[in-house]
């Protein structure tokens, strides 16, 4: 793709972004972390457009991963952690799908996954690590030999070898790079030139975006380029790495977005209740995904009072005193 720094070519609806950039069977990197900055608008749109056989790759994700797995959009995952903090120590639809054998899982650690995305971002074929010697994270294979070395799946989960630079026989773990088809990122700000600014912790979003072939960014606000260029030290991604920008205020709901809103304890507690039961979960999808045509309809359904309850304090970045029980 030719580099573009004109947002006109990129600003689009979630519907168009998914239709153009997400295909059945794609390897998709999920940005954010557990209860923070999950790309929920895109996750719901992927479910609406009934994408199938997706291969999700992530370090630690919560709500977006669980919703996609629960909706049957996913056949494979490579991850370190599937949880929503205290709201679901293990993501519930994920747990059920793994226990039922509906998805194939390859476990790594967070450091492993971080390094694999970093390797992809740097265009390296693999990357060394010293984490996990003799653990089952390295010894147990989630993906069987029938899929190893085919398509996007590397021939080995990891290789343990001797450090070639050491006179002693020091072991080192080699991990295959990750180069996803698509990275899904939710940011606070995108400039009119497409520059991306993530506020608060960036987690691994920058490496994930750089490792991917296509990047969809949803954002709270589109702002004049000059505003982001006044303080470029704070910016996260250059415009020409971004393929689609979707303006979506509260786009990470029910997960948090620093300086904009907190996670929504009422929604996450409600989700925990319904996710445990197959029928209740189907009803949830019908109401909250298929039953709302777009993000505006979704926010109307959440309602003003719940959105105001989680509105962040502009100094602290979260909603102080929020009832999180």
């Amino acid at each position: 793709m030719r580099a573009s720094i004109d947002l006109k070519d990129k600003l689009m609806s979630a519907e168009e972004a998914v239709r153009r950039f997400v295909k059945d069977g794609d390897m998709i990197a999920l940005g954010g972390f557990t209860v923070n900055r999950n790309t929920m608008v895109i996750a719901r749109e992927i479910i609406r457009q009934e994408r199938r056989e997706l291969h999700l790759v992530m370090h630690s994700n919560g709500q977006a991963m669980d919703l996609l797995v629960g909706a049957g959009a996913v056949s494979r995952l490579e991850l370190a952690y599937g949880g929503n903090g205290r709201f679901a120590p293990t993501c519930i639809r994920f747990r059920k799908a793994v226990q039922a054998g509906h998805v194939q899982v390859e476990d790594y650690s967070n450091f492993h996954m971080s390094l694999r995305f970093l390797a992809g971002a740097l265009n390296l074929p693999f990357i060394p690590s010293c984490s996990g010697f003799e653990s089952d994270v390295l010894n147990q294979q989630g993906f069987g030999p029938e899929v190893r070395g085919r398509g996007r799946i590397p021939s080995h989960k990891a290789v343990i070898t001797d450090n070639p630079f050491s006179p002693d026989r020091e072991p080192v773990v080699l991990l295959p790079a990750l180069t996803p088809d698509v990275a899904l990122i939710h940011a606070q700000l995108v400039g009119e030139d497409g520059t991306v600014r993530i506020k608060g912790l960036t987690f691994l979003d920058i490496e994930q975006a750089k490792a991917a072939s296509r990047v969809i960014v949803t954002c709270e606000e589109v702002v004049p380029s000059a505003f982001l260029r006044q303080d470029p030290d704070q910016n996260s991604l250059p415009p020409f790495l971004v393929d689609a920008v979707v303006q979506a205020p509260f786009g990470a709901h029910p997960t948090a977005c620093h300086y904009y809103y907190d996670y929504d304890p009422r929604h996450l507690n409600m989700y925990r209740q319904v996710a445990g039961d197959d029928n209740d979960f189907r009803t949830y999808l019908k109401e909250w995904v298929f039953g709302v045509a777009d993000h505006e309809a979704y926010l109307a359904k959440v309602g003003v009072s719940d959105l105001m309850r989680i509105k962040a304090n502009s100094s602290l970045g979260y909603a102080p005193g929020l009832d999180r029980r």
Partner: protein, 258 residues
């Protein structure tokens, strides 16, 4: 006079007491947040807490419920990302102490936070390693939280997520690890530590009112009980700080004592 308190309160305070002023703490979710927050407020104000998500030394005015909670980004010395956090975890200049919890533990402090039963078709699936495997591999030391039950303290874990003292003795070093290893296991009944030579778990302390026999009954492998001392009960100051300042909504502490 004795104060009523819960085992969760005792666990948080006991782990907090193991923190030294100036330690660099790698905290996870749940009890480890309480332990770090309480230690900072009582005896280790210079201790620095950081999270694998990249938040370094947050103010922790409110308790984070996940390492991705926006509360780990507030009042920090800096906000970064996972690559930066892992550069600190294993940094040779830092004595990083990591807190970890798990579903199963074996006599050498190897833990499982991935699944029960066969990995390919598990009976119960848990969240997975997260940064646990990395903390167990790279930190200077590890403090573990466990519920003391026979089904959790087992001869062999169903899945070895995070390596402890491996098979005991020098096996951890032989496997390629340069430092680290579990220092203590804090449970609802007491504290276990690991023998300097054999690296096998022994009972180091029982909470007030708990007997070594009770601990043994709730452990699925033989445990040396001969070195057990009795822990000090929580002080009024510790309980007040924990309940009033650290977790006033009892988000992690759960129901109060009767």
């Amino acid at each position: 006079m004795a104060h009523a308190y819960t085992s969760k309160e005792m666990m948080a305070l006991t782990a907090g007491r193991l923190v030294n002023n100036g330690d660099v703490l790698f905290a996870g979710t749940g009890l480890s947040m309480l332990a770090a927050a309480v230690a900072k407020r009582i005896h280790a104000p210079q201790a620095v807490v950081f999270f694998e998500t990249g938040g370094i030394d947050p103010a922790l005015k409110e308790l984070p419920l996940a390492v991705g909670d926006p509360r780990v980004m507030a009042g920090t010395c800096m906000n970064s990302g996972l690559i930066d956090a892992f550069s600190l975890l294993g940094h040779r200049r830092l004595r990083t102490i990591a807190f970890l919890g798990a579903a199963q533990i074996d006599p050498f402090g190897n833990i499982n936070s991935t699944c029960l039963g066969d990995y390919h078709r598990p009976k119960v699936r848990f969240p997975g390693s997260g940064g646990g495997c990395d903390a167990a591999s790279l930190a200077f030391g590890v403090i573990l939280f466990m519920q003391q039950e026979k089904k959790r303290f087992v001869e062999k874990v169903d899945y070895l997520t995070s390596v402890g003292w491996l098979r005991g003795g020098d096996s951890r070093w032989e496997a390629g690890y340069k430092r680290g290893g579990p220092m203590a296991v804090v449970t609802n009944l007491g504290v276990m530590k690991f023998d300097e030579q054999s690296r096998r778990m022994y009972l180091a302390a029982c909470y007030p009112g708990v007997t070594p026999a009770q601990v043994a009954e709730n452990t699925g492998f033989a445990l040396d009980l001969t070195r057990a001392e009795e822990s000090l009960p929580p002080s009024e100051e510790e309980l007040t700080i924990l309940r009033r300042d650290v977790d006033p909504q009892r988000l992690i502490l759960g129901p109060a004592a009767e």
